[in-house]
Symmetry: C2
Subunit: 346 residues, 2 copies
């Protein structure tokens, strides 16, 4: 910069593409092309334009661009909670997958209610996302209608909905919990208890519970040891309270399965606080393979779910439809893996 320092005009207005064009001595259209990857602009012109861009501190206005190009570059994703590290991982997977494509994530959370989900869906659709990722298959009728008339690809995740809207990336929570029961039954446990939330708001939680009940029945084991405690998402603290209730009602329970690792961890800590030995006095298992389950002592047996992969795959499927062939290839269902991780708590 051998030239005199360029005086910065004190304009409160942010510079526009026309300002850049004027300064670079080209048309606005050429500026638009120069700022877009893969369009042909001569090297000299591009340099002039970039110089003007830097001098003015210009940043492209995508809200204007998306109006004329009819592509907003948004993808919406709705999860039950961003405080839950499983869903945070999914959100991270989505973001990471979107990053290379220049798509921007609009993230919302429902607090596990379909009513808030409906509101969120509507709010997001106002931004005209090019695709939308939902958690689970439970939605209000109005939400379904809104999604249908929006005409954008939808991916439901984390479950296998009985009535899929469009695409699905998920797994059967019922089967996964069933597998956990069977794995532990093979180790000799017979009196199983289950800890979960009180309502059906958390559909994945309900499915896991059903999977538990079904597996117990199939194996011909003692049934009925179900404790419901707290509104989903059931916290660490509530897991601790729930196991107290479990031990009071069914003191001879041999193994307790929890709807998530957080409640399992709470249960585990409560047991230790009471001087019980895990797994000798009682075995505890969770679901989700949270970091805390791997590194607490004893480590908690759990079901590992590919949370991050769910996010990446969901985003990838959207991208394929958005950027790829116009034609939707029908309701594809992607099954994501899960596996039982046995640790010291069982």
């Amino acid at each position: 910069m051998g030239k005199a320092a360029s005086s910065r005009p004190i304009e409160s207005q942010a510079p526009t593409m026309a300002d850049v064009a004027l300064r670079a001595g080209v048309s606005a259209m050429t500026v638009s092309r120069a700022l877009k990857e893969g369009s042909r602009v001569s090297k000299a012109t591009r340099e002039k334009i970039m110089a003007a861009v830097n001098e003015l501190g210009y940043v492209l206005d995508q809200s204007a661009g998306s109006l004329s190009s009819r592509k907003t570059g948004f993808v919406a994703a709705i999860v039950p909670s961003i405080n839950n590290s499983n869903f945070a991982d999914t959100a991270r997977g989505i973001t990471d997958e979107l990053e290379s494509t220049g798509l921007q994530l609009l993230l919302g959370y429902t607090d596990y209610t379909v009513e808030k989900e409906e509101k969120l869906i509507e709010a997001m659709l106002r931004r005209r996302p090019e695709g939308i990722i939902l958690t689970g298959g439970a939605h209000t009728e109005r939400a379904r209608k809104l999604l249908k008339s929006a005409g954008i690809p939808v991916v439901e995740t984390w479950e296998l909905p009985s009535k899929p809207i469009d695409q699905v990336v998920g797994f059967s929570n019922e089967e996964a919990m069933g597998l956990l029961v069977k794995t532990l039954a093979r180790k000799g446990y017979r009196k199983f208890g289950y800890i979960g939330g009180t309502t059906s708001r958390d559909t994945r939680g309900s499915q896991r519970r059903e999977g538990f009940v079904r597996a117990i029945e199939e194996l011909g084991l003692p049934t009925g040891r179900l404790v419901s405690f707290g509104v989903p998402p059931i916290s660490i603290e509530q897991g601790g309270q729930a196991i107290v209730s479990m031990l009071e009602r069914w003191p001879d329970t041999e193994a307790v399965l929890c709807v998530s690792d957080l409640s399992a961890f709470g249960a585990l800590m409560e047991c230790k606080r009471r001087g019980m030995k895990v797994p000798q006095d009682i075995a505890i298992a969770g679901f989700g393979d949270y970091e805390v389950a791997a590194f607490c002592h004893p480590g908690i047996t759990t079901v590992n779910v590919d949370c991050y992969g769910i996010g990446r795959q969901a985003a990838r499927r959207l991208i394929q439809v958005i950027r790829g062939a116009e034609k939707k290839q029908g309701q594809e269902i992607v099954l994501t893996g899960y596996r039982v991780v046995e640790r010291e708590s069982t």
Copy 2:
């Protein structure tokens, strides 16, 4: 619905405001008014319009609206990680505070690098947010320039930057860690160790470490017991590995302070795994008051930070500038509280 089922026209195009207007027999402008809170439209007209809206499944297009109104309704927030429950809480606080105002959050995460922050800031500014919330005070020069020329209110959080851009909602990590040291010194501990990450990427971590060193020096206690382990954010697992290293080099350490509760939890579990008694053999403290610290056994002494409140207050300050008086009231700094929470681990 006593009427015959309305046949759904197979139009791939999403309906526009003009379609609604046509159907309701009014002008587009009236539709726009009817869909906006607080504008005067007669009851009969509004009902006609709402009927048309529902029949067509119309959803307002805000990207178009924000172009003419010159208000996008976006607020950007950039945090180091969304997998960290402290920052997830802050994001939740922001979202909750924005909800009533109709503003939509654009959330991004930097993985603790200023380079990715710069990229994110630029990407977000392309969406023309009306305000932006950042974590910490470390930014690239270019990021600062971009923010300045964007001319929107900026709130830096979670720290007290030495060179604030605009507004600040945070606390002194240095002082907070110093308070923790002093609190434990009062209980009689003298040989303090510190566990943190290896680089200065995590500026809050660095500040906590400085606060630790300074407090130790001021109290005239033995210095130098610092273990750096792993790239921030330091995980539970790395906390466990770090305390092994600490015990090898300084076996007589009485109390170990960790950059966060996650590493403290890892350290705690590793000690238990080795059969050490906490706090009798060694005391352990963390930072951040994560849920796990409260409910693990023994509970971990830590510094509680109002993560959620930081988010709410940061958002509130933005809203005041955005929706309120045009005039910025200068660089206001809001101090958020913190407090030492003593538990069984010390």
